[in-house]
Symmetry: C2
Amino acid sequence: MKCNTDRRISFCSDNCRCAQCVNQDTLQRNFDTFAIPKDVSPTEISPKSDGVDILWSDSHKSYYPWSWLNFTVQDTSNKKPTIQEKLWGATVSSAPPEVEFNNVLNSTSPKGMAELTGKIRQYGFCFVTNSPKTPEDTEKLLETIGPIRNTHYGGFYDFIPDLALADTAYTNLALPAHTDTTYFTEPAGLQAFHLLSHTPPTNKPADEVLGGQSLLVDGFHAAETLRKESPGDFEILRKVKLPWHASGNQGVAIAPDMAYPVIEATGEKLHRIRWNNDDRGVVPVDIDVDAWYQAARKWDEILKRKESEYWFQLEPGRVLIFDNWRVLHGRSAFEGLRRICGAYISRDDFISRWKMTNFPREEVIASNMQLR
Amino acid sequence: MKCNTDRRISFCSDNCRCAQCVNQDTLQRNFDTFAIPKDVSPTEISPKSDGVDILWSDSHKSYYPWSWLNFTVQDTSNKKPTIQEKLWGATVSSAPPEVEFNNVLNSTSPKGMAELTGKIRQYGFCFVTNSPKTPEDTEKLLETIGPIRNTHYGGFYDFIPDLALADTAYTNLALPAHTDTTYFTEPAGLQAFHLLSHTPPTNKPADEVLGGQSLLVDGFHAAETLRKESPGDFEILRKVKLPWHASGNQGVAIAPDMAYPVIEATGEKLHRIRWNNDDRGVVPVDIDVDAWYQAARKWDEILKRKESEYWFQLEPGRVLIFDNWRVLHGRSAFEGLRRICGAYISRDDFISRWKMTNFPREEVIASNMQLR
């Protein structure tokens, strides 16, 4: 940065870090950037041990800590709150990520929450073990991560499948691996399921196998497999933007603000998976339709490989929380009555909680202000 | 579409509209696209008066209504739920859009809701007049449009400014025109304010001018003005992606999933405005920083022109609802105590309500399934 030349003057005056310019509570700008005279110039530049003072021609005195200038101007890659994602397949079943309920909720230390959110960031999911088997405690746990997201289905849910409801999620049918709310501009960030009870039908013995196994598939793992085995198909699913819809509820017909691809990625970095073939709209006819179907067929085949699928049984006291931008979920068909509670949490709130429990506050905020 | 050639077979079999293939409640696919044999082919094509039957080599019989084929394959521009936006400046004050509370809420007809949502789509805002002066009725009104969005500030709000809270919105200071929640991946869609009361300070007479005028600015109008007067600056604000942040609350540091530009637009079509200079992050140093500041200075100047600004006084019984993706809001400083209630509603839910009250359901869903 050349603050002592004519160029970049606006940048320097806009980013003054003095206590007068930055609201010390909200860390928002406390002045009108555009009220600064266009011809303002530095009249005195005074380097100090911890930063630099600049006296401007309008007599305002700015302060910039060296740490802030370094972070802003240099490569910031080492200082960003970041995590190494662990991609997984079926073998994750031998040691799935889990944390103790009491460490997350009944602790004065943020370590349990740091561990929970950190594991969800690493694996895309985590179990919360030894949870009280009540909807109230489950709701409290989830609200501690972030505000529960309200949709046309409601907020926190606590339901027993009712075949009269117009969504397959509320049936006892098998559901192939999918992400939820593909039809929202911003799909649900986190999703949680807590099985509170599963009782057999009246005509069956209590020890009968009732089905209802849960399925998770790491969408980032599947996408990387696709990229490796068939880079052309990966590019098609990344580039072709599709319509998605929710049309099953009276008076409601939801679609995103625009079409979105199955795989969102920037360069090497995977960002979001959006996949529910049942509520996918019509493949646009002005693209190579055959090529899209071929790519989707390959994607579907990878998702359904035995080595991609992690099957397990939900249990009371063991809350499942997963990242709906990365991990697909499904289940096998079942008999009897299952009572399941859970909720959606917006991704921004989850990421905020993860950052604030795992990294120093100043580092998080400095990084947020530099987000690319 | 040439369903009777070898090409596009996947498309046709994937989009069968027969009652067996499409769940008649949810309108979701009722079959596994990728379980259809790759080598399936049509063996019999039978045009009828209302559509076409195709008998496939795996003995499934598909049906496609002509209307569906026409909509899917032809230019659909005439059939999309659409509205002519009315861009406005200060003169909108002579006849601001409004609807009667009773027509929206206490009516068996959807006409009032159609009018309310239609006017918000056209103007970016609408008043609901003769509303009961209670938070309960305001909440009910808003929930009828769509589910209230929950954030780290809570859901439905009902507050009296308290200088102890760490956000300028909760003070009595002047606020320049801005959009809310620039720091969310998906900023709030609709926003509502209902002034329930404004009482003077104890040391002032009851008829004192207390300030607190409200300000709206049509961001789409300002963007079109910028595009016309300075296309280069428009392009800079459209292309340069910036960081945004909310850092004022203990334990919370929110940022969007990636950087976003001030103006989001595809070709001629404006999509979303994101502008709050106070919670804007640092302009990325790897772009032409000076050019960005010059463009932002021009944008700021347009927003602050007298002919851009619509000033008015909020009143009990007159609920303001506006599109936070288009319209900027602000207020002048005030004395005394103001009690204001309101909420955010997600844009997808609002758009769904608008479409479903203004257009036939089949048209809405067909269009959602074709969204580009």
